[in-house]
Symmetry: C2
Subunit: 545 residues, 2 copies
């Protein structure tokens, strides 16, 4: 038996385009003589459709997509994820299902049992869990069909669910497992995924075909990396990351378990590639081509500009250099050097006139009150307004250039440097931003060395440095990662070796700045806990604050 794995980049709600892509893959699979072609979870409507699932019209269009695919299931079987209706009045109205299409009809439907409802996932918001499990027979083989999370409740210390659907299905003696997935990238996820696949084939002793989405949907980046695992507990093949791939497999070969093809893994490279895909799909799927950003001469906007140029092409990226009286000379020089290295269009607009005009109009109200964060923020907001003016006039989407460390502690001006349609490096800690800059320069200098080596500064008042009010970034990032990614409280972070007063101060800064993050652009997610939809904190609260 020959099985085709189709790792495809879908588009939420774009049923026609999604089905067209799948029909092309069906054609290719038929050409290769495959018996079955497998797509991903909710491939008809793309993942995550979010509250569109609550619209009858959206479900009808999902069903029509299944009808279109069933028409093509002629001489080949198609395995595809799509919502289905719960006929029982009690419970949620939908299931998250995997369809088995053959002989131009729906032969079998298995519903998802384990509904991830944590971090960025909201599946119990929409779906009823399965309470019945079967296998489908096709060409003499019995196949266990599962959806994503259904295989993730084994091989971990603290299982989230009280059942494992495959424990039920295995009683029916399936020959192999197909898992249709939509499992987004994090820089630790590919290792976890391989581990889970291996745990499953070890436990059930049959091959596993795991077919993942690839491509970005707003903040979520699906990395692909589909997995074929052999019953001997080995990975037969791990498909490439961040690109579409269609590959055909002989079941007999996989049974032997002799091949082992793995992708190379490197945290900074993977984050880099994920973000490039994230930018590309954010623009492409919205129907935009051009980006704009403010280039300060600092490392965050430099790294963002390089990522944008790599995603969209340098001809589609333009930058504004907006020096103030507090900018150092090297800032403009470094920014110009970067723009020239990248071959992107730049304009220089000093902000002094606008800044002065605000101060003049405000002086009757402000009187003799001293310079403070107010005047710093006015500078940032003048820049935000200029960036948005070009965005509005020329149709370039503004990129937010804030890193995760400063997003965490609230170092950024709402409606100023926090403006932008998408946050590019808002899930990358400052220490990793430095690493990424080094990585970008590995084949020759793109980012000026001075941008990397000079002390970080917002340059919003004379001689300002980040280190005036923040600890070293390596310490800050450790504390932040313990709090944000690892959910450690103050006592646990102090026990890890950090100064109690500093820990208290940093956690307070994180908590009282929730209001800023609430109003910031969606952040391309590359870690296990990004700001945004996956981290839901109260704004009005009195806790560690």
């Amino acid at each position: 038996m020959k099985i085709t794995v189709a790792q495809i980049n879908y588009h939420v709600g774009n049923f026609e385009a999604n089905v067209d892509k799948m029909l092309n893959a069906v054609k290719e699979a038929k050409g290769a003589g495959s018996d079955i072609v497998c797509f991903s979870e909710l491939a008809t409507c793309a993942y995550p459709p979010r509250d569109f699932l609550e619209f009858e019209d959206f479900i009808i269009r999902s069903e029509q997509s299944i009808d279109r695919l069933a028409e093509a299931a002629d001489g080949i079987a198609i395995v595809v994820g799509s919502p289905s209706r719960n006929p029982v009045i009690e419970g949620k109205d939908l299931y998250n299902s995997v369809y088995f299409l053959a002989d131009k009809e729906v032969k079998f439907v298995q519903h998802k049992t384990l509904l991830p409802t944590y971090d960025v996932f909201d599946e119990y918001r929409y779906f009823e869990p399965a309470s019945e499990w079967g296998v489908v027979e096709y060409k003499g083989k019995k196949i266990a069909l599962t959806v994503c999370e259904d295989i993730w409740n084994i091989g971990n210390e603290n299982p989230l669910y009280t059942i494992c659907p495959l424990d039920e299905m295995i009683k029916l003696k399936p020959d192999f497992i197909i898992n249709v997935s939509a499992s987004p990238f994090t820089h630790v996820h590919s290792e976890e995924r391989l581990h889970v696949c291996v745990e499953n084939v070890k436990r059930y002793n049959i091959p596993l075909f795991y077919i993942n989405h690839v491509g970005a949907q707003t903040e979520l980046i699906f990395d692909g990396g589909s997995v074929i695992a052999s019953p001997n507990g080995k990975i037969y093949e791990e498909l490439p990351y961040f690109v579409e791939a269609i590959k055909h497999y002989e079941l007999d070969e996989i049974m032997k378990g002799e091949q082992e093809i793995l992708q190379s893994k490197d945290k900074i490279k993977d984050i880099h590639d994920a973000i490039v895909l994230g930018i590309k799909d954010y623009f492409g799927k919205l129907g935009f081509t051009k980006a704009i950003l403010g280039l300060s001469g600092g490392i965050d906007s430099a790294v963002t500009a390089v990522l944008a140029a790599r995603a969209l092409g340098p001809e589609n990226v333009r930058v504004l250099l907006m020096p103030s009286q507090f900018s150092s000379d090297h800032s403009v020089n470094d920014a110009v050097a970067l723009a020239e290295n990248l071959g992107i269009q730049y304009d220089i607009i000093p902000i002094k006139d606008m800044y002065d005009s605000y101060l003049e109009k405000l002086s009757p109200i402000f009187g003799d009150l001293p310079f403070n964060v107010t005047e710093e923020n006015i500078q940032a907001r003048v820049r935000g307004t200029l960036n948005m003016a070009l965005s509005n006039k020329f149709g370039n989407i503004l990129l937010n250039t804030s890193n995760k460390s400063e997003m965490a502690v609230g170092y950024g001006t709402l409606y100023g440097d926090l403006a932008g349609g998408i946050s590019v490096i808002g899930d990358v800690y400052k220490t990793d931003v430095f690493r990424m800059a080094e990585y970008m320069n590995k084949d020759g200098v793109v980012i000026p060395i001075n941008t990397i080596t000079k002390p970080p500064s917002a340059e919003l008042r004379p001689n300002q440095k980040d280190s005036d009010s923040l600890p070293d970034y390596d310490i800050l990032d450790e504390i932040l990662e313990l709090y944000i990614e690892h959910h450690k409280g103050p006592k646990e972070i102090v026990a890890a070796g950090h100064d109690p007063a500093l820990v208290k101060r940093i956690l307070r800064m994180v908590n009282i700045n929730e209001f800023k993050r609430y109003q910031t652009a969606p952040t391309l997610r590359v870690s296990s806990k990004a700001f945004g939809m996956g981290r839901r904190m109260p704004i009005v609260a009195k806790y560690l604050s």
Copy 2:
């Protein structure tokens, strides 16, 4: 037996203050000779704690709060909601529980069964559902303890769950039901709540004590309106809305079912009162006292200013009047008249200088390109920057003044008039904003009549009117409500009598402006579907767009 219902305003994460308030109520209940005093769902940590529940330290502090309360359960029993731990390794780590405290210890704990995971609710994100049900015996009475949603699966056409926990508990023959709740306000919710309470006492033929939160937690406004229902299917008493209340009840009297005290209901008055509480608690619980907003002379900012003055006191509200060359004469006059009627501080800053200074600096880049939305947005962003400058300098939180109709179709400038810490009327359609203005003027003119009667305009270009590009607001609001509140698709809205081309255009406007709403302040929620945490839409999608 005497039972005290304590409808209290809690504060998320403020364990000490929450327990202090409860201990005062325990004292009062003891003084009244009560046998049991009842609080609300998750009263120790306040509802909704959101992802704070994922922190061990937060759970420990909830447990310590239960310990403090147990100490006071001496001569009186205490019923209170708080998280508890799931000792089983499989499944979620927590339960959402109701504790029965007596004789200085925990006598009984019942876990919540039905975990709302829709709209603004995320409970399955954190909690395992109960799978065992009991009753607690106290002073010769058997009591069924339930948590909020546990009583909501009956009396509706499309139940969300496959079980009703009270169907199990009733087998143990309880004498009455206590339901600890945290059920937020919408302008239709109080009727639904009374209906559900009546359905429960009709089905189980025993009294029900339903104890709700009161007070706002960021965007969610809990209205109180706790309910005591008699076994004859009558409401014995509905407690007041929007205020704390502690009342004592003789069980024997409730059994008779002769009393029936209901609160008066009026959509616009209730929304008004809800928003006033929402503003008051947003500021009070954040530790702020003063607000600022831009007053345009139009109805949205006028209504917002009145609400703010009523919530915070006129002495704590200041406004900026920021006319441009496109502002009509009456705009400033109307705004001044309102400020004087309210007795709030106002300053006038014409924006021309700042606006001109942007245009001058941009002219080398813009060349001869015609005036368009870019220049409109610059005006709005100059105003946003001025508002934020005063906010930063004086510590006044900026109020967002956008209404729900314009939020829906994207009529608003990101980082301009969409700026602000909290959206005050972002869940109120324009037609209801007019009604609220009339309601505010019912005892004498507060909002100038001209502000109410003149045609709505953003005044960002010469002779601009909302009606240039939008249908009449009564038609627009009907289409929006069908789409947003009632989840109707294009066909269903057209079938309701609307023009197909207009429906298509409006739904598209709603969908393509998701990116703006993503970056807007939390919105005080008064409808069954507000923008924000309860409405989760993809930004990058191709559906009705």
